[in-house]
Structures are given as structure tokens and as C-alpha cells.
């Protein structure tokens, strides 16, 4: 069976009919994007593999409940994002919220409701000393707070549109745009010394 030309929705129909090969096709399409996002969020390959595996198993076992009104990519990224957040929250129980209150409308409100303890929660010792994330720019991304990092990775590396990112992260569109703008500013600051 050649799924090459089929849309995600069509492949899902085959998977729902119980075709093993259709499940494998969905994994083939999304293993890299999903793993990449999680890896850049948690910075530990082994942990990222576990979380990615958990994400796929959850999604593929729930295909019967999948609503084709939404993009499959949004759905699987959302599950991946939540798995990642759960993990990061467990690691830092003292923080209130990673991404600020969803009701925050101004940047000040977002800041007030999101965790500011970036420095103690994200000590440099947590960074993976892997070659894969070792470049200057990867290191800079690692230093962003998780919510900025997530939008930067999803938009710039994975090419997801803003409205999809808002859906994935459960944030208002305006907040997503604020985060990406701030993330870019911080990255530029960190990478300034690289300029000729």
C-alpha cells in the first residue's frame, strides 16, 4: 500500500480500519518533527525519546476520537507539548505556570502570571552536552524560557503557522506573537557577538 499521495486524514481512515501500515506511515510523517520539538524543549535525548514515544502511543490509540475538523499536526503537537510541559512542571513544582495565564491580555499580565524563575529552574547544568544541540544558535535557543523556546522552535524550525501554534499551546494568538517577538529579541541579544 502506497500512502505517499494521501493526506493525513486519508491515512487516518486506513488506520481506523486497522491497517498496521497506516499507523507506521503516520509515525514516519511525524517522528522527526515531534521528536525535534520535544528534544529542543527538554534537551535530553533519552527523555525526549520517551516523551515522543508516549505522545505517539497516546495519539495513535485515540484515533477513533480524532476530530478531522482539526489538523492532525496540531493535535499531535499539542499532545507532545502537554507531555513536555507536564515533565517540566514536575521538575519545578514551585512555579505557577509555564506560559502565563491564558486570560492574560497584556504583556505585563503575562509576565505576572508566568514564572520568572528562569534562572534557578533552568540552570546551565541541565543542558545536555550533546553535539546535536551544541552549536552557538542551539545553545542560545536552550537559554530561552520554555514558552519563548516553544514558539521559536514551532514557527522557525517546524514552520507551523501562528494560529496553529496558538492552538497547540492553548494561548491567545496575540500572546504567541508577543512571545515570538521577545524570543527573537533575546536571541539577537545573545548572538550579537557573532556579528561581523
Amino acid at each position: 500500500m502506497d500512502y505517499g499521495k494521501l493526506s493525513d486524514q486519508d491515512v487516518i481512515l486506513y488506520a481506523r480500519k486497522g491497517r498496521d501500515s497506516a499507523f507506521r506511515e503516520l509515525i514516519r510523517r511525524y517522528e522527526r518533527p515531534v521528536f525535534s520539538v520535544i528534544y529542543r524543549m527538554v534537551r535530553n535525548r533519552e527523555l525526549a525519546e520517551d516523551l515522543a514515544q508516549e505522545t505517539f502511543i497516546k495519539v495513535l490509540n485515540a484515533l477513533d476520537r480524532y476530530n478531522p475538523k482539526y489538523k492532525f499536526s496540531s493535535w499531535i503537537f499539542k499532545i507532545a507539548h502537554n507531555a513536555t510541559l507536564d515533565h517540566l512542571r514536575k521538575k519545578q513544582p514551585e512555579t505557577l505556570s509555564l506560559e502565563g495565564s491564558p486570560h492574560a491580555e497584556t504583556q505585563d499580565q503575562v509576565d505576572a502570571t508566568s514564572f520568572a524563575a528562569v534562572d534557578n529552574a533552568e540552570s546551565p547544568e541541565d543542558y545536555t552536552h550533546s553535539k546535536e544541540l551544541g552549536s552557538e544558535i542551539e545553545a542560545a535557543i536552550q537559554r530561552l524560557r520554555p514558552e519563548y523556546r516553544a514558539v521559536i522552535v514551532l514557527w522557525h524550525i517546524e514552520g507551523r503557522p501562528y494560529d496553529e501554534i496558538a492552538e497547540i499551546m492553548d494561548l491567545p494568538l496575540g500572546t504567541v506573537k508577543t512571545y515570538i517577538h521577545r524570543g527573537r529579541n533575546e536571541l539577537r541579544g545573545m548572538l550579537q557577538h557573532l556579528r561581523h
Binding site: 480500519k17 491497517r19 498496521d20 507506521r24 518533527p33 521528536f35 490509540n61 524550525i157 517577538h181 529579541n185
Partner: protein, 215 residues
């Protein structure tokens, strides 16, 4: 220059989300302002650096590890369909020449039968009506013999005696006993149908997961 372009607008310019009017304003400012032009090329460099980052792959065997945790349900009809699909994919000719040969081969028996019928009918003493009477008479006779044979062998078998015994026993029992027997029988049927279903139509993963209470 009093009003430099804001970072927001520069980013929107790179993302190409400005409308025509705004775009023109930004472009005319950029043409005359070295500061904003520099900011723009800085931002562009950041965009390009980010976009050039690779997607990373999980280690080998990821798919299999995921599939071990996935329940694949396959309705019987789908299994048959899938099997037919695969079988046709292997058996069906892939070229026009192949199709021509396959068609010829498939047509051979039809041609042979047609030629035989034509030859028989062309004999002077034979008519279509006679053949029909002969063939239908033969068929009816064979069926009658077959039925008779079935009846005789059933009457002589142990099964007939056994069924008669059951009927006599049932006649000697009261209503309560009969009801109880019927209930036991129905329960056993349901259980065996479930076991059959569980073993035939569920995937391996599913079965392993429920091994403790599958029979």
C-alpha cells in the same frame, strides 16, 4: 531620521504579512535609512540561521517501539480487503501485454466450451431441446439420489440415536429443568462466541494485554 521602523514592523516585513500600503512605506524608509537597513539584515540573518537548523530524528527502532504500545483493531471485512488488495497487487498483470495474455488465458475455457456446444449442435440428430431435456433429467435424478443417500446414512448413524435420546429425556423433564438447561446452553454459546472473536479478530498487542482473562 526621527521615526525608525519598529522591530515588529521589520519582522512583519520579513514574514511578508504587511499589506501593500505598509509594505511600500517600509520599503521607502529602508531605501534611505542605513540604521533600519542594518537592523533588517540582522533579523534576516537570525531567521536564516533558525531556518537552517535540522530536524532531529529519534533512534532506530522508534517506530517498532511505538507500535508495541498501539492497539490495532481490524474488523474481519478489512482483513479480507487488505488480503485481496495485496494478493491482487501481486497477481494482477502490470503491463498491457500482461493483461492481454491474462485475458486470453481466462478466455480459453469459455472458447473451448463454446466450440464444443457449437460442434454438438451441428450434429444432424441433435437439437437444443433434446439436450435440455436430457441434462435437466440427469440433474434431477442426481439430486434425488444424493438426498436419499443423506437420509439413509443419517438414520443409521449414532447421531440420530443420540438426538432421539435427548428428545426423550427432554420430554421426561419439568419446565424448570428445561429452562435451566437452556440458560446454561445460552451462556456457553455466548462465551464461546466471545473466545472465538477474541482469538480470531483482535490484534496480537490486544491479546497480550488481555492475556490474563482471555482463554
Amino acid at each position: 531620521m526621527p521615526n525608525h521602523l519598529t522591530p515588529d514592523r521589520l519582522e512583519a516585513y520579513i514574514e511578508q504579512t504587511l499589506d501593500g500600503g505598509e509594505r511600500a512605506v517600509v520599503e521607502s524608509h529602508l531605501a534611505t535609512c542605513a540604521h533600519c537597513e542594518g537592523e533588517l539584515s540582522d533579523l534576516r540573518a537570525l531567521f536564516e540561521a533558525l531556518e537552517s537548523l535540522p530536524e532531529l530524528a529519534p533512534s532506530a527502532g522508534f517506530t517498532d517501539r511505538v507500535m508495541q504500545g498501539v492497539r490495532v483493531r481490524r474488523p474481519l471485512l478489512e482483513r479480507v480487503n487488505e488480503w485481496l488488495d495485496e494478493w491482487l497487487g501481486r497477481v494482477a498483470p502490470s503491463t498491457n501485454r500482461g493483461w492481454a495474455i491474462a485475458t486470453t488465458v481466462a478466455a480459453m475455457p469459455v472458447l473451448v466450451v463454446a466450440a464444443t456446444v457449437w460442434w454438438v449442435l451441428s450434429q444432424p440428430a441433435v437439437s437444443a431441446q433434446e439436450i435440455w431435456v436430457f441434462a435437466s433429467g440427469r440433474t434431477a435424478m442426481t439430486l434425488a439420489m444424493g438426498w436419499e443417500w443423506t437420509l439413509t446414512s443419517f438414520a443409521g448413524s449414532g447421531l440420530a440415536a443420540w438426538l432421539t435420546g435427548i428428545a426423550q429425556l427432554a420430554g421426561s423433564l419439568g419446565r424448570a429443568e428445561l429452562g435451566l438447561a437452556a440458560a446454561v446452553f445460552a451462556t456457553m454459546m455466548v462465551v464461546s462466541v466471545y473466545v472465538l472473536y477474541d482469538n480470531l479478530f483482535r490484534s496480537n498487542a490486544r491479546r497480550i494485554e488481555h492475556a490474563s482473562y482471555s482463554f
